[in-house]
């Protein structure tokens, strides 16, 4: 019916595929103990940080890359990647000092880094390649006692907090990519919300890989102390390149008693061209812990980019009455592959979790949902509801679900349902009848399908996410 439209629309260009011509400080490619020491030295890190990195590196040498995911990952040569790339100029003191080229980049990306920031009221920490470039609104946040800075600054100024919480949710032995990150991570964001504080604005980080042949290894640590609230946004882009680039990040969230953390991400790494050439390998470990009673963590993700995505934002529900949510829209087009989902580990009593995952596959895309809901014997009266739906657009794509449910007591209820279908011809016909073109109709239907998740996003992101969905998919009906 609409092969032309399908063809046209699935060619949708990656509009973030520019490179920025600014000087970067790249260390030679390859990975060794010396490289780990060099990264640590470049960042003037204290001894304990270097020790941590080396411990992780030595452990990493004993590990093998996981193969269980429903992904076809070409062999990655870890010795051909540069593990550190930084814009040459040292940390700017004010916006005027920021490299104008860099500011232009962020403008192209549409990040409101400038005065526009004040209007949109977002505090942004922009991470380019490996280094955190500028954190805005730091002063006004610090009046409330909120710490929002780059990870290296946190290591320098708040070593006690970093030492206490870093790696407490994702241990350095956790998995292959997390361990690699622990050894070579370059920078990232650090957020601390003190007791009883409700963060007045959305905190946001933008990640961009710019230099060629580099990997990006950032880590984010968010700590919400008792009775606090924070909403954190993360966005990512990368230029178009023929080679694949590696992104292996760690995000850790700690929510204390009565605290609430809302984490939203729109992942738009370069997905490779329509023949599957190039693109980012996005192998990310994200995990939160509801440490105190009544705490809550909510993950929302819109995954439209990356050649390969391997990502399972999880929650450990340790505190009694704590709750967790996971909302996800994952789109795979062309030759993109995604194996994504969540893990909910119920340990405390009366804990609840809700999973809503919407997968959309088009072209040759392979989209998998993989999730685990585990109820420990002590987690009495726990409740989980999971729903994962898949939408297939085209006859060469695939949609898969791998949910695991493990229940160890008799007072908990776990429910899971999944459906797979394509866009109904009747629905399209109905829209056509009323003068809506097929392309618009598909846009309507896909947006309606993903709405439950998009509604969870903060306003600024929801608009971007909706646009992204349209760019990648509108009209691609099989």
């Amino acid at each position: 019916m609409s092969t032309d439209i399908l063809h046209e629309v699935t060619q949708g260009d990656y509009k973030y595929g520019f490179t920025t011509d600014i000087e970067t400080d790249i260390i030679p490619i390859g990975l060794s103990e010396d490289v780990v020491r060099l990264i640590s030295a470049k960042k003037n890190e204290p001894e304990w940080m270097l020790e941590f990195r080396l411990k992780a590196y030595r452990h990493w040498l004993t590990m093998k890359m996981p193969e269980w995911a429903h992904l076809d990952i070409p062999k990655i040569d870890y010795q051909s990647i540069a593990y550190y790339a930084a814009p040459r100029k040292n940390a700017p003191q004010s916006l005027d000092e920021v490299d104008p080229e860099l500011l232009k980049t962020f403008e192209k990306l549409g990040i409101p880094l400038h005065e526009r920031m004040a209007l949109s009221g977002i505090a942004v920490d922009a991470v380019m390649d490996s280094v955190s470039v500028k954190t805005t609104f730091k002063e006004s946040l610090s009046e409330l006692g909120i710490i929002f800075c780059s990870f290296s600054e946190a290591v320098e100024h708040h070593p006690d907090l970093v030492q206490k919480y870093m790696s407490s949710v994702v241990p350095y032995t956790d998995n292959f990519f997390a361990t690699l990150n622990c050894a070579v991570f370059s920078d990232g964001s650090f957020v601390y919300i003190p007791k009883g504080v409700r963060c007045p604005m959305e905190l946001s980080t933008y990640f961009r890989i710019n230099a060629m042949n580099t990997g990006q290894f950032e880590r984010t640590l968010i700590i919400a102390d008792e009775d606090s609230y924070v909403s954190y946004l993360e966005g990512c882009t990368a230029p178009m390149r023929d080679e694949n680039q590696l992104h292996a990040a760690i995000v850790e969230i700690v929510a204390m008693k009565n605290a609430q953390v809302k984490y939203s991400t729109v992942q738009n790494w370069y997905p490779g061209d329509k023949n599957g050439k190039g693109g980012i390998y996005n192998f990310v470990t994200k995990r939160g812990i509801c440490k105190g009673e009544n705490s809550k963590i909510s993950w929302t993700q819109v995954e439209t980019g990356s050649a390969i995505t391997w990502k399972y934002p999880s929650c450990i529900l340790l505190g009694d009455n704590s709750s967790a949510e996971f909302y996800s829209v994952a789109v795979t087009n062309h030759h993109q592959q995604a194996d994504t989902g969540t893990k909910m580990l119920h340990i405390g009593k009366n804990t609840s979790s809700h999973i809503l995952s919407k997968g959309i596959s088009a072209g040759f895309g392979q989209n998998s949902y993989r999730g685990l809901v585990k109820i420990n014997p002590a987690a009495e009266n726990s409740r989980n509801f999971s729903q994962c739906d898949s939408l297939l657009l085209g006859d060469k794509c695939g949609a898969h679900t791998f949910p695991y449910m493990e229940v160890n007591n008799d007072t908990s209820i776990v429910e899971h349902e999944a459906t797979t279908s394509k866009i109904n011809e009747d629905q399209i016909f109905y829209c056509n009848q009323r003068g809506i073109s097929t392309e618009d109709a598909v846009g309507l239907i896909v947006n309606g399908y993903a709405k439950e998740v998009l509604n969870q996003l903060p306003m600024e992101f929801a608009v971007e996410a909706q646009k992204l969905l349209q760019i990648t998919l509108e009209g691609s009906v099989g």
Partner: protein, 446 residues
């Protein structure tokens, strides 16, 4: 623990082959090589995540490689005939087909062959050769490979073109030994075009020793054939039952497989149904009632290779005591299998704190014009329903039973032999009341 079997095969492969048939021996060395490479599966393997065989496999079992006849009168052992069921009755003792002179079996329709696989492989080598191992040798599984290396005999059934078996065939597997014992058997069931058959497989154990049964059953359902497979397990807690059921469906065939586990030790049912023709119908269902230390893992795959097929899957578990349940339901829809409709449901009830359930429904879909869904729940009996009954004068214990019985009834209703349905209803009720710890009527329970 594999080493002793590897050594045993290396020393004894001549006598293993001598006491089997040429057709079965053809693939034996390859199966052994595969087993040597794969070894016994452990929980580290994704497909065996919920089946822990470490303990049952560490027991030192005896094998009857030289096929010494075991003195047993199956009729003495087996008295729990299903009342009202008229069937053709056959016995397998351990791993050998047991020849009995059963008068009712004389009425078998013409052309139907039922008997020992080893013997039929000698008398009709061409027939067996066309089918034997066609499904099992392609699998990359340690247990199936082990079976391929050690199985010497089994049950064979052949129903020729357009022949309809008027009565169900009842196959009674009896485990009988004075020492801990392992039996490997290979069953082969062939239904030609338009044939119809029902097979009822019952598993029983006689002696209070450890048994391990590793059985592979291959079923070929020809075009338009209708096949019903019922497996009822009622063994004791020292039994390890590793059963692989591989079914190949040709166009327009209709298969029903119903796997009921009432009492057991460790059970692993691997069921794979390949839909290799258009317009196939498949109904796969099962039920588990477990308590004490029972472990049951049903690992099922339904593979839609061709368009226009329908499959439905329904599994229900009621777990109490320290029972551990596992369920994996894989639904695979190949690239060109358009217009597939496949639905899967798995519902589980945990009755106490120590029972455990792990479930993993799994959809893998490569075609776009399909309707597929799965649903899984793990929970408890409905408190409001129980309260409703109690408020109308039904005691709590009775209300619980009624609810559990209603829960399992969906599976029982899919049994298409009325007499068997009644019998299983009775057995399930008894089992739920805790009255039935072993199969009624066996020598052992008297």
């Amino acid at each position: 623990m594999e080493q002793q079997y590897i050594d045993l095969y290396k020393q004894q492969h001549e006598s293993i082959k001598k006491h089997s048939a040429a057709v079965m021996n053809d693939s034996r060395d390859d199966a052994f090589a595969l087993f040597e490479a794969l070894r016994f599966p452990t929980v580290a393997l994704e497909n065996y995540k919920y089946t822990d065989l470490k303990e049952p496999l560490s027991i030192d079992y005896g094998l009857n490689i030289n096929r010494i006849p075991i003195p047993v009168n199956p009729y003495e052992v087996f008295q729990c005939d299903v009342p009202g069921i008229h069937s053709y009755l056959y016995f397998v003792v351990n791993d050998a087909f047991y020849p009995v002179n059963e008068p009712r079996n004389k009425a078998l329709p013409k052309g139907v062959i039922i008997g020992s696989l080893k013997e039929v492989a000698t008398t009709h080598p061409e027939l067996v050769k066309n089918y034997f191992g066609k499904l099992s040798t392609t699998k990359n599984d340690g247990l199936i490979a082990f079976n391929g290396a050690f199985a010497q005999d089994g049950f064979f059934m052949y129903v020729p073109k357009n022949v309809v078996l008027d009565k169900p065939v009842q196959l009674v597997n009896i485990m009988r030994s004075d020492v801990d014992f392992m039996a490997n058997s290979h069953n082969l069931i062939i239904l030609e075009e338009g044939a119809k058959a029902q097979l009822l497989v019952c598993d029983h154990t006689v002696d209070e020793v450890h048994f391990l049964s590793n059985r592979v059953t291959e079923v070929f359902a020809g075009e338009d054939a209708t096949y019903e497979h019922y497996k009822l397990e009622n063994t004791h807690t020292k039994t390890t039952n590793l059963s692989t059921l591989l079914i190949d469906q040709h166009p327009s065939s209709n298969v029903l497989a119903n796997v009921i586990t009432l009492h057991n030790g460790v059970t692993r049912n691997t069921i794979e149904i390949d839909l290799d023709g258009e317009h196939c119908e498949t109904l796969l269902c099962g039920m588990v009632i477990g308590d004490k230390n029972q472990q049951v893992d049903n690992f099922t795959s339904i593979i839609h290779n061709k368009p226009n097929c329908n499959s439905r899957e329904l599994f229900k578990y009621v777990l109490d005591g320290m029972a551990k349940g596992g369920f994996t339901g894989k639904l695979y829809v190949a690239k060109d299998a358009q217009k597939t409709s496949a639905f899967q449901t798995n519902r589980n009830i945990l009755l106490n704190k120590t029972a455990k359930m792990r479930t993993k429904p799994q959809l893998e879909i490569y075609a776009d014009d399909v309707k597929c869904s799965h649903g899984a729940t793990i929970g408890q009996l409905d408190e409001t329903a129980k309260f409703y009954m109690q408020s109308r004068g039904i005691p709590e214990s009775e209300a619980r039973l009624l609810l559990m019985f209603a829960f399992t009834n969906d599976v029982i209703e899919n049994i298409r032999i009325p007499a068997l349905q009644d019998r299983i209803k009775l057995l399930v009720e008894k089992r739920l009341r805790g009255e039935l710890s072993k199969c009624e009527g066996c020598v052992i329970c008297q």
